[in-house]
């Protein structure tokens, strides 16, 4: 390739520099290795990542845990009164958890119910669409590379941009309504109606994430040897049977990864929806993370303790969900 030829002096330079660096690092680090030993170097390798991770992710999480048991509106933890379980109690004071209006923190339970509905439908649709797309891309078709990229493109877009693109389309005077009118329909205020807003929130998130999960499934499909299908064909299996008996079982590990990842993401849904509907109309698309964000960050009276408590509930819920999934996944692998 021409590009490669043009780049070759550049490559040569790069590899020379790289080897220089290796020699230099080697020179500097060898004394350290002599002190710590080979095994000890593992700690050196892991240290930078662990430091950054510990300071900026783990420590804030522990701090957040502490916040959950304090009250008031002070920012710094040392000024906050310890209130024990008050925040959690406030969250769980409820006559009937399925009817948010009966709860002390009705908005939290609305968010929980909304999130539940969203997770179930979004994950189902996402996995289904990703599977269909992966199966299509796995066929012997022209332009596979192109199509594969096409479905992946929206994955690269930021949540802010995705939200804006779709709001522009779904406006009252937007292009989708124009199409509806030209087909003889009525204009619909998509984002002013609770059901429509919930519907579109799911659609755009599937639109934006599908490509990623498609690729994971596609990798699994391509790893299935053709002989398996041939064998199934000789045994006289119908297409449907070989899908059930060959494709699905062999795709299970990848499907499982897709399921776990998409579920975690769905429970944590926030940026995109927040920029898209702002949680509205009313509270129809307010999900758990947004509840935490508004309570602890966006509201004028910042109830950090309550927000932290809600985030604990969410993390606990996710943990249970993931453990169950892992258990099921392991059992699936054994059988």
């Amino acid at each position: 390739m021409a590009i490669k030829r043009i780049l070759s002096p550049f490559n040569w330079l790069l590899s020379t520099v790289y080897h220089l660096i290796i020699d230099l690092v080697d020179l500097l680090m060898r004394p350290l290795q002599n002190i710590l030993g080979v095994r000890g170097m593992a700690y050196v390798f892991i240290l930078p990542n662990l430091l950054v991770f510990g300071i900026f992710i783990l420590f804030p999480m522990l701090l957040n845990f502490y916040y959950a048991f304090t009250g008031g509106t002070e920012l710094f933890p040392e000024n906050r009164p310890f209130v024990g379980m008050d925040n959690l109690n406030q969250l769980f004071t409820c006559e009937d958890f399925l009817s948010p209006n009966s709860c002390r923190e009705d908005l939290f339970w609305r968010a929980v119910l909304n999130t539940g509905g969203y997770v179930i439908s979004q994950v189902a649709l996402l996995v289904f669409m990703a599977l269909i797309t992966a199966l299509s891309l796995n066929r012997n078709i022209r332009g596979r590379g192109f199509f594969r990229s096409v479905f992946f493109y929206p994955v690269l877009l930021s949540p802010v941009v995705v939200a804006l693109i779709w709001r522009w389309i779904l406006l009252q005077d937007g292009v989708l309504n124009a199409i509806l009118v030209s087909l003889g329909g009525e204009r619909i205020s998509f984002l002013l109606n609770a059901q429509w807003a919930q519907f579109w929130v799911i659609i755009i998130s599937v639109w934006a994430q599908m490509g990623f999960f498609t690729l994971i499934l596609l990798a699994g499909l391509q790893a299935i040897p053709t002989e398996f299908y041939e064998a199934a064909g000789i045994d006289g299996a119908t297409a449907w049977q070989s899908f059930w008996n060959v494709t699905l079982p062999l795709l299970m590990p990848n499907l499982f990864v897709v399921l776990v990842l998409s579920l975690i993401r769905a429970v944590q849904v926030f940026d995109q929806v927040f920029n898209f509907t702002g949680g509205g109309p009313g509270t129809a698309t307010t999900y758990m993370v947004q509840y935490v964000y508004t309570t602890g960050f966006a509201n004028q009276t910042k109830e950090y303790g309550l927000a932290a408590a809600a985030s604990l509930v969410m993390a606990a819920f996710l943990l249970i969900l993931t453990v169950i999934q892992l258990r099921l996944g392991r059992r699936g692998e054994i059988s």
Partner: protein, 429 residues
């Protein structure tokens, strides 16, 4: 090798040059600012002039979304990472973090004499010195409605306020509805999605809110009557649902609908004059009309933006010089005249607003006449330290009534609970 040497020398020279320059570099001060219209540009002009006369100070204006003033600025200030100065509306959120300018300004008595004592006091807590100067209001606002007069004329409907001194919200609603039907205009009436906008009409309808013991009561017939009216506007599609329903959890203006001629009557406030002049142009005749009246009288809500200084600044003396410059009669007068704001300064004298628009001039007079009519409760809500704790729950809960998530009874109870919670949380720390 020679090249490398030259490069190193060059780098050394640059470092040297910058460090020399840094020695007598001007003090850098920052203002966090938001824009309703073009006031940021006017401020910049004024600051440029200040910088020319005071080469030792450089002022940087960070223009942010209004949302950031409400959400991030309080956090930054509390963490000691805020700017030196800011333009704020949520001045309660920064109490305890302001810089007392009194020791630093040349003529503190001028400050005291120039603004209503209650407004300056709105920045202080009980622990602060009773005469602390934490900032000044650079804009006074009054809420009130605008109408599209051209549409009234085309419909042949008389503008109620032309003939009557006291028009109720119900009468205005009926008139706007008649105009919208006659002219096939999409919407009759709208109000910004804001508890602050709602409060004036609610007081007019007889809402009380404040009890003698300092507690708050939401559930009064007056409050319900305005809330019911707002819900009725939505049920009968008199109002663009986008404003209250489509906005999610934030403030949302009805301005675009009015500007585009899709709306007959628009409840907002005096700060929109500049935007109306700019965006309506001569597309139609608009007019500010007096606040409707009701059992509780006729009142809008006072409001305004405060220019404040923060105590964490490293350069209090320089901050005070900038603030003192901005507060002077000449500066504030020019700012007011060019931004078409209502001044909060009591002694600016005759103002010569810089606009060719007769509608704007008339609107400024109308809103100026609204100021003396503002009720005591309206002042108490705005400057009593509880404004956002009361206004936001009203806004959010009424939206839930409009979308059908709550009944009015539930909503009123929830607002009460939200307000009590917020006040309790604020009191406990």
């Amino acid at each position: 090798m020679k090249k490398l040497l030259t490069l190193v020398t060059l780098l050394a020279l640059i470092v040297l040059a910058t460090s020399v320059a840094a020695q007598d570099a001007p003090v850098e001060l920052r203002i966090t600012w938001y824009d309703d219209g073009s006031e940021g540009a006017v401020l910049r002009d004024l600051l440029d002039r200040f910088e020319a006369e005071n080469p030792d100070i450089k002022v940087i204006v960070d223009t942010v979304a209004y949302q950031s003033i409400l959400e991030q600025l309080p956090l930054q200030v509390e963490a000691g990472e805020g700017p030196d100065m800011a333009r704020v509306t949520n001045f309660d959120a920064y109490k305890g973090f302001y810089l007392d300018l009194r020791p630093h300004v040349a003529d503190a008595a001028y400050w005291d004499a120039s603004f209503a004592p209650s407004v300056l006091a709105a920045l202080r807590t009980a622990d602060d010195p009773a005469d602390a100067l934490f900032g000044f209001p650079n804009q006074f606002t009054v809420t009130g409605p605008y109408i599209n007069r051209t549409l009234f004329e085309q419909a042949g409907v008389e503008v109620p306020s032309d003939t009557m001194d006291a028009v109720t919200w119900e009468e205005w609603t009926a008139a706007a509805q008649a105009v919208a039907e006659a002219t096939e205009t999409q919407y009759a009436i709208a109000m910004d999605r804001s508890g602050h906008r709602f409060a004036g009409p609610a007081f007019s309808q007889g809402a009380m809110l404040f009890n003698d013991d300092g507690s708050i009561t939401i559930d009064t017939p007056g409050f319900r009557s305005m809330a019911d009216l707002l819900v009725r506007w939505h049920q009968e599609s008199l109002t663009p649902a986008d404003v209250w329903v489509g906005a999610g959890g934030t403030y949302s203006p009805g301005l675009p609908f009015f500007v585009n001629g899709q709306l007959v009557m628009y409840m907002s406030g005096s700060w929109q004059i500049g935007a109306l002049v700019r965006d309506v142009g001569d597309a139609f005749d608009w007019q500010a009309v007096p606040n409707p009246t009701g059992p509780g009288g006729s009142t809008g809500m006072p409001g305004g933006t405060m220019m404040v200084a923060f105590a964490e600044t490293e350069h209090p003396a320089e901050v005070a010089r900038v603030m003192d410059y901005l507060v002077q009669v000449d500066t504030l007068k020019e700012f007011t005249e060019r931004t078409l704001f209502i001044p909060a300064h009591l002694g600016l004298g005759e103002l010569n607003f810089q606009t060719d628009s007769a509608a704007a001039q008339a609107a400024l007079v109308t809103f100026a006449n609204e100021v003396p009519k503002l009720s005591e409760q309206a002042y108490q809500l705005q400057f009593g330290g509880q404004a956002f704790a009361i206004n936001n729950p009203i806004r959010d809960r009424l939206t839930q009534v409009i979308t059908g998530e709550l009944t009015m009874d539930d909503a009123v109870a929830r607002i009460q609970q939200d307000v009590d919670d917020a006040l309790a949380a604020a009191a406990s720390s």
